[in-house]
Amino acid sequence: MSQTEEAAGRGANRPAGGAGGPAPVPVDGSGGSARRPFWTSRRRDQLTGYVFIAPQLFGSAVFVLLPLALVVWYSLHEWNVLAGTFDYVGAENYRALAEDPTLPSVLRATALFSVGLVLCNLSLALLLAVLLNQRLRGTVVFRTLFFSPVVVSLVAWTIVWGFLLQDNGGINGLLDTIGVDGPNWLRGEATAMVSVVVVQVFKNVGLNMVLFLAALQGVPAELYEAAEVDGASRARQFWRITVPLISPTILLTSIITVVGSLQVFAQIAVLTQGGPGTSTTVLVYYLYQQAFQFHHFGYGATLSVLLFVIVLALTVLQWQMRRRWVFHES
């Protein structure tokens, strides 16, 4: 066995990444021969890279890409769990989707919820961030209070609001003391939708507020000083300086919030069960009902594909908008 081969053999036996002790670099430096060993430090480094990403790559393949392919495959089948049949039906489920009399109402509820949530959430988050960005003692206390619902368990938060929104609950009780006869919030179509939006806004607005606050702190103070000298009003400064400069954050938060709004489930399940009627049955809740309550797995898969297409389209749309109106990207 020549010296070089021996060195190569040692190199190959070394654990990937060379965790054990100092490794001479390059490993074949002592070999006098012109033949380079197979396990050069570059090759070993590459191998380490593959080993490092292996768990994530495996997970993505098994728990993301495979299910994504399967969901499309399932959507082309009629699946009867009770009878144990699984038959290829082509586009039948998609035809059913187009003709589903409930679907327009579901899409309407989904859109109403998303638009309502995004508008309320982003404007309230920006308002809170601007207020907290003033030179004022105790803003950290307020920041903590506004953020606190984020860490309260979602279902616990929803249950309390459900309790508050009962016909004889805390909110109507308080309204009564000032002589206002409150509605039965969760039983009226419009008020039920307003309720689920409001519950969700107060739960998570703290996240966006914190992101806005970080962005606001990055806006150079000189810009405001210069604007002040030029006699620009506060409102004008806000629209002409603040908003353009934090537009990348507005885009980021709006993407996160839109995608998050399409995933709303627990609030609906706990507060309204999609009712009254189907007025708060959003897409994910409908998907859950079809697949896991009525065991229409084929149709459930079709609704999943629809959800995926909507999320994808909205994300692409928002990235496109970035080019149009986001101020600068560094």
């Binding site: 990444g17 790559l57 299910p67 994504l68 399967l70 399932y74 616990a156 009780g173």
Partner: protein
């Protein structure tokens, strides 16, 4: 915007902030105080903002109606395992994508990033069927494996990669000159520097797992295996109506410990998120 405010402007601002606080703070206050009221006072009119008499009955009932301590333990251990697993998976992958050159790197990164585009609700039907085939339905495995390896960990990997990319090259070169191998460089040099990013990932992974609702109700059917969010909705009387005081007591037990941790470590929560979590 650091302009000095007049005294009047300051007072107005405090007033506005206090009013805005109400919908954020009042529900938690109402949850805890109502859970301490005797049943007869729960829907009293006018509402009692401060309980006049305190009763711990509801807290006792929480543990009688359901195996609540078991469910608490389930949620806690699942969230801890998921957090530890996600940190390991995402730190390794994030580091490799940021700092090691290997063939197919960009393509593989794109493949992984697909997970960011897919809400977990999209894949719940096929994942349920997969776990059904593996005979793992009504076990905790789906609640552990999918978050650690699947779409939720992709965001963590992305965050870690963004962080590791920002590290200066010189640090690693110095480590190499000192004879450290790749793993040692990662473990002893890069990882300790990544503490803020790891902290942010840990907090949000824990909260994500702790809050999971759709997955538990899809996979689990035995009350002893339930997680907290699922258990909270099961406090109903014989007619299916909620036992409000018991439910609120259970909700308080779920929310208060996390809130306390948050109040103690609020700086890490808030700033970790803002500065390392989602920037870039």
């Amino acid at each position: 915007m650091s302009r000095r405010l007049s005294r009047r402007a300051r007072l107005t601002l405090y007033g506005v902030l206090l009013v805005l606080c109400v919908p954020f703070v009042f529900p938690t206050w109402w949850m805890v105080t109502s859970s301490l009221k005797p049943v007869s006072d729960i829907f009293a009119f006018p509402p009692k903002l401060v309980p006049t008499s305190v009763s711990l009955d509801a807290y006792q009932r929480v543990f009688e109606v359901q195996p609540f301590e078991r469910q608490y333990l389930n949620s806690l251990y699942i969230a801890l395992v998921v957090t530890a697993g996600t940190l390991a998976v995402s730190a390794l992958a994030g580091y490799a994508f940021a700092r090691i050159r290997f063939r197919g790197q960009n393509l593989l990164f794109l493949v992984v990033l697909v997970g960011l585009l897919i809400p977990s609700e999209v894949t719940i039907v096929p994942l349920f069927q997969m776990f059904l085939k593996l005979d793992l339905v009504d076990t905790h495995w789906p609640l552990i494996l999918v978050p650690i390896l699947g779409a939720p960990s992709v965001l963590a990997t992305f965050i870690m990669r963004q962080f590791f990319i920002s590290l200066p090259n010189e640090l690693e070169e110095a480590a190499r000159v000192d004879g450290l191998g790749r793993f040692a460089t990662f473990y002893r040099i890069a990882l300790p520097l990544a503490r803020p990013a790891l902290g942010a990932v840990a907090i949000f992974t824990f909260l994500h797992s702790w809050n999971l609702y759709l997955e538990p109700i899809v996979y689990l059917s035995t009350p002893e295996k339930f997680t907290l969010p699922q258990a909270l909705t099961q406090f109903v009387d014989a007619y299916g109506g909620p036992m409000w005081n018991v439910q609120l007591a259970a909700a308080s037990l779920t929310a208060i410990p996390v809130l306390l941790v948050f109040v103690i470590a609020q700086k890490q929560f808030v700033e970790g998120l803002a500065h390392t979590g989602l920037k870039g």
